[in-house]
């Protein structure tokens, strides 16, 4: 059973943390490579070609950000950042540098496993190169070929920017997308410091798509980091 499950590379210097992750991940059938510092992690990533990398930001030998950057020089293996709360800004930098998602210590095993599943799903989809022409979650349906958005069967009219915002978020569904990433992809590279645009359009999008905009179901705000489009894909 273990042989066909995905391989996860863990780069984490704390023993207790590694033990917790080892128990949790192995019980789920994942194969695990444990490394204790950045250099070792980079070497293992190159030789073993894991499916997902769990990277702790506070490593003894190098900055987690640096590890991310060096990994991204040659691979698209999904990287999930594990960070302490004081490292908010580092976290955003790592995400902007190409990390796929993050977990803030302390986190529960549910959260961890969900993130890993999402990352694997995305990378397999990318590898397969298949993009479904239609996206559906809950009662929201987006038809990419017809540029049509329907909520509970009713067509929702979106402005071009709103539509682009939504499709970008859907492309990274269940993964966090940083403010910079969104601004770059929706407005273009020159607009990356105008977060207020993002806020206004996100508010509009929520008004149109959410039943209760203050308690959104799809468009989740990750304070200080970005947004996450939440699907019901993981609930099964």
């Amino acid at each position: 059973m273990t042989s066909d499950k995905e391989m996860i590379l863990l780069i984490e210097d704390e023993f207790q943390m590694r033990r917790f992750l080892r128990v949790t991940l192995q019980s789920q059938g994942y194969r695990l490579i444990e490394t204790q510092n950045g250099e070792e992690g980079l070497a293992q990533a190159a030789t073993r070609q894991p499916d997902v990398i769990l990277l702790d930001l506070g490593l003894p030998d190098m900055d987690g950000l640096e590890v991310t950057e060096r990994l991204r020089e040659w691979t698209n293996i999904p990287i999930i950042i594990i960070s302490a709360r004081e490292q908010e800004r580092d976290k955003v930098r790592a995400l902007d540098a190409g990390a796929d998602d993050y977990l803030t210590k302390p986190f529960g095993s549910d959260e961890l496993l969900a993130r890993i599943r999402v990352s694997i799903r995305h990378s397999t989809r990318e590898k397969a190169g298949q993009e479904s022409p239609v996206f559906q979650t809950g009662n929201l349906l987006v038809d990419f070929s017809r540029r049509q958005v329907t909520l509970a069967g009713k067509e929702i009219h979106l402005t071009p920017i709103e539509y682009r915002l939504l499709t970008t978020l859907i492309r990274y569904a269940d993964r966090v997308v940083t403010h910079n990433q969104l601004l770059r992809e929706v407005w273009g590279p020159q607009q990356t410091n105008q977060v207020q645009y993002l806020r206004v359009y996100m508010a509009q999008l929520r008004q149109k798509l959410e039943d209760d905009p203050a308690r959104p179901c799809f468009l989740i705000n990750e304070p200080g980091i970005g947004y996450r489009f939440k699907t019901d894909a993981d609930k099964g």
Partner: protein
């Protein structure tokens, strides 16, 4: 050959003598009567002995004057000479103070104490260099002739006819730790002169001829011996007092010398100085500013300044007294200061003046009672004459003369009209009226003219025989006399009143300047403000450009006020300012140190030491400050220094207070941490070990319960630690608010998303209007506030009660409130609930930090936070965040227009 050396008597004892400062260097002076006595030779010989003892001796500046004996010795110091010469090319001519201070050696040899440094040196005189070397803890050997002593200047001139310009203050001889008298009989000296063994290169032939005569040399030798004896006596006395030998020295003497603008006052000052030195008594130089009939000329004032400065340089305390009568002022002051000898110059004016105006000398002698009065002669004739009558008359403005003539003409016209009805005595009164008017207004000259004119006119037109100047009735002569006397008396009185008014005005100005400075400085709390105000006041009071300088990071003084950056200090000024600060003495233009600098630099001395420097500039030539200005400047500087020190102390106190508060917080946190963290840890440890050890004994339900407990307690612990960390960051001032345009709805959404599990038992209602504007705030921090408030509400209210989170838009702020329907806040806690470590009653856990953190964050955003109880029950926690219009209004795209490809 008499060879009297004071270290022959006390070679070892001298070493035991206390130095002025324990860290200061020792000064040894090789003292002689005249050039050519062999002082340099003696100095080198002594230095060589020290050298052989292993002392680090450096040759500062020793000139062999081509004498082989000295040159031989110089060669003994070859190492040092070479080394010194290597360091500074010009060392032989002009020794380099800075490089010596940088070395520094144990002992330095500097020939010729009275040497005047080349222009461009730090100090004008070598003795100032030596002063600085000694303060730096370097021992100095130097040579000095008695003729260079300041107090001996007059005597030398009397004896030899040589004017000495390069004199040194006597205090230097006094402070010397040792002096060694180098004596040579006059015959031998003359022989040496013949053999050209004496360096007299800068002397004129005439001077040499007049100076190198047995009589002169004998007199000089006597002077030198006497000085040496005095010094020995002084050392003996110090030795005695140190050995606690009961002394028979007389009670403290105090001398007072009366100083005036008269050129012979300097002789008076030197004579007093000699007397004071003999008596070892402190002395005062006093000048009285009395209202005079004639204002002192600017020349007189300058000379007076010089005299006062001379007295000061000779160690006197200088005082300027104000008073109507000089004698009273002097005697009152003398009594107040316990002076027992007054020195005053012999009068040089003719005796009749004393008869008429009274004699100061006479008045002092009569009023002196138990004070001894010494009258000392001055035989330098008064060369400069006061302005002559003609010049005096010409100096008066034309207007005054015109007024004088017109008023007499007016009186004459009036007298002509009323003449038929009045007797001539009444007509005199009319003329007298005019004279009084002129005298009262313009003083002596114009009043004299008016008097003459009046008498002339009166005599010509109203005294029989008319139309001639002849007078028949001798009674009229009396009338004319009376007119003269009246004019004179009134003009004199007028001048006195005017002078007093002027003096009062000046004092008033000084007091006003000081007062307004101190008044303005009282409320200032920051260094730049104090500097700015002091700068303004000093510039105004003295009409000089002013700059206040403070010690910068690189030990250089820098101006604190950025507005005066247009005039940076140049190198010389920088050095002068630094020197003034380090040495606590004024430097720059008008002083003897760094005098080539354009500005004058005055240290700001406070009780704890120098706090800064005042720089003064005048456009164009720097006029030397008068003593009046100097006094004012000193007072202003004192005030400023005190204010600066006060501000510095206050800042330090504030820092200490902050530190203490932080310390207090740390202590409270520690105790709180140890208690609040231990409880959940204990539960976790307990549950964990039970699971580990007794697994077989637990059924499925118990096991779940224990695991649930562990997870909950860990979560609780996490919250606690988060709060403690936040508080630490807030307190350390390390919390930085990263303001971005945030949507409140989004922040609330994010918080609720993260807290989903915690609202299971509560019904949370969210009421946010859809038109809330974007708020410039730190999303993470405001999320923290909301989270703490919501957690608080969940924790403190019974399950199943509703919570309402609402927002409303005000004009300049957004109000966010969280209302619950719990028991509300106890009345006594409403006010202090946001303080640190305040917890509600009957609540478990929490370090009492959550709300304090909220308050800190909201305050950092410029908002307010408060709590209140609702009338219908339950508490409301509200906070505000200021709103501003968007810097760049967002242009929303028009609907339907499709930019996509």
């Amino acid at each position: 050959m008499v060879n009297l050396k004071n270290d022959d008597i006390t070679p070892s004892e001298t070493k035991g003598f206390p130095k002025e400062k324990s860290s200061a260097g020792k000064l040894k002076i090789f003292f002689g009567a005249a050039p050519g006595a062999g002082k340099t030779f003696a100095m080198l010989k002594a230095a060589k002995e020290r050298l052989e003892e292993g002392v680090n001796v450096v040759l500062g500046n020793v000139n062999s004057h081509g004498q082989p004996a000295v040159e031989n010795y110089l060669s003994d110091f070859k190492v040092f000479l070479l080394r010194a010469a290597f360091q500074k090319e010009r060392l032989i001519e002009e020794f380099d103070l800075d490089s010596v201070l940088a070395l520094p050696p144990d002992l330095i040899l500097l020939d010729d104490l009275a040497h005047i440094n080349a222009p461009g040196s730090r100090h004008k005189k070598r003795w100032q260099d030596i002063d600085e070397l000694l303060r730096a803890g370097i021992d100095v050997y130097t040579t000095l002739d008695v003729l260079h002593l300041e107090s001996q200047k007059d005597l030398i001139f009397q004896i030899s006819g040589k004017r000495v310009y390069d004199s040194v203050p006597d205090t230097l001889l006094e402070r010397a730790d040792e002096i060694q008298l180098v004596d040579i009989p006059p015959d031998d000296l003359l022989k040496r002169l013949e053999q050209r063994k004496i360096n007299v290169s800068d002397w004129t032939e005439e001077e040499i001829e007049k100076f190198f005569r047995p009589g002169v040399l004998l007199a000089l030798r006597e002077l030198a011996l006497r000085q040496a004896a005095e010094k020995l006596d002084d050392q003996m006395r110090r030795y005695r007092s140190q050995q606690e030998i009961t002394t028979v020295w007389p009670a403290t003497e105090r001398l007072l010398v009366c100083v005036g603008p008269n050129p012979r006052s300097d002789r008076l000052i030197r004579a007093t100085r000699r007397m004071a030195a003999g008596l070892r008594a402190p002395w005062l130089a006093v000048h009285v500013e009395a209202p005079a009939l004639v204002r002192p000329s600017s020349q007189d004032l300058l000379r007076l300044e010089e005299h006062m400065r001379l007295a000061e340089s000779l160690g006197a305390e200088t005082v300027t007294l104000h008073g109507n009568r000089a004698d009273e002022a002097i005697l009152d002051f003398a009594r107040a200061r316990n002076v027992n000898r007054i020195i005053i110059g012999k009068p040089t004016h003719p005796r009749w003046k004393d008869r008429i105006f009274g004699s100061l000398l006479d008045a002092i002698v009569r009023g002196s009672e138990d004070i001894e009065v010494y009258v000392i002669t001055g035989d330098v004739p008064q060369k400069e004459k006061p302005p002559t009558g003609a010049r005096y008359l010409l100096t008066r403005p034309f207007k005054e003369w015109l007024f004088s003539i017109l008023s007499v003409v007016g009186c004459f016209a009036l007298a002509s009209i009323v003449a038929p009805y009045l007797v001539s005595a009444d007509l005199v009164m009319i003329f007298l009226l005019g004279i009084v008017l002129v005298a009262g207004k313009y003083g002596r000259g114009p009043s004299l003219l008016a008097t003459l004119l009046s008498i002339g006119l009166f005599d010509f037109f109203f005294v029989p025989p008319f139309h001639t100047f002849a007078v028949h009735d001798p009674a009229y002569i009396v009338t004319f006399g009376v007119m003269f006397v009246v004019a004179h008396v009134i003009s004199r009185l007028t001048y006195r009143v005017k002078d007093q008014a002027d003096a009062a005005l000046q004092r008033e100005r000084r007091t006003a300047a000081l007062y307004s400075l101190s008044r303005d400085l009282v409320h200032e709390r920051s260094l730049p403000d104090v500097a700015r105000i002091a700068k303004k006041h000093i510039s105004e009071a003295l009409s000089y450009r002013t700059k206040i300088l403070f010690p910068g990071p690189s030990r250089h003084l820098i101006p604190l006020d950025p507005c005066s950056d247009e005039t940076q200090l140049d190198d010389v000024e920088q050095r002068a300012a630094d020197w003034a600060f380090q040495n606590c003495k004024s430097a720059g233009s008008g002083t003897d140190t760094h005098s080539q600098a354009k500005g004058l630099f005055l240290p700001l001395l406070a009780a704890s030491g120098p706090v800064g420097v005042i720089g003064l500039w005048k456009d164009g030539l720097f006029a030397r400050l008068s003593s009046e200005q100097m006094r004012l400047l000193n007072s202003l500087a004192d005030q400023t220094a005190q204010a600066l020190e006060r501000v510095q102390l206050a800042e330090e106190a504030q820092k200490a207070l902050l530190l203490a508060e932080r310390e207090q917080l740390r202590n409270t946190l520690l105790s709180s941490v140890s208690h609040d963290l231990r409880t959940p840890l204990a539960v976790i440890t307990g549950a964990g070990t039970t699971l580990l050890r007794n697994e077989s004994l637990l059924d499925e339900e118990n096991r779940r319960d224990l695991v649930q407990t562990i997870v909950e307690e860990a979560d609780h612990l996490n919250r606690l630690i988060r709060n403690i960390m936040d508080m630490m960051r807030l307190e350390a001032g390390g919390i930085s608010v990263t303001r971005e345009w945030q949507s409140l709805e989004e922040i609330v959404g994010g918080v609720i998303n993260r807290m989903t599990g915690q609202f299971e038992d509560h019904n949370l209602e969210i009421d946010l209007p859809s038109d809330l504007p974007l708020i410039p705030c730190d999303g993470l921090l405001i999320a923290q506030v909301l989270r703490n408030l919501l957690e608080n509400a969940v924790k403190h209210t019974p399950p199943q009660t509703p919570l309402v989170l609402s927002g409303s838009k005000g004009e300049k702020e957004v109000v966010i409130s969280i209302a619950d329907q719990g028991k509300g806040i106890p009345a006594e806690d409403v006010e202090r609930i946001f303080e640190k470590f305040v917890r509600g009653k009957n609540t478990r856990g929490g370090a009492g930090l959550g709300l304090a953190i909220c308050k800190g964050i909201v305050a950092a955003h410029g908002g307010r936070i408060w709590a209140e109880n609702q009338a219908e029950g339950g508490a409301v926690f509200s906070f505000t965040l200021p709103v501003e219009p968007l810097t760049h209004p967002i242009e929303l795209e028009s609907e339907g227009k499709n930019h996509d490809q």
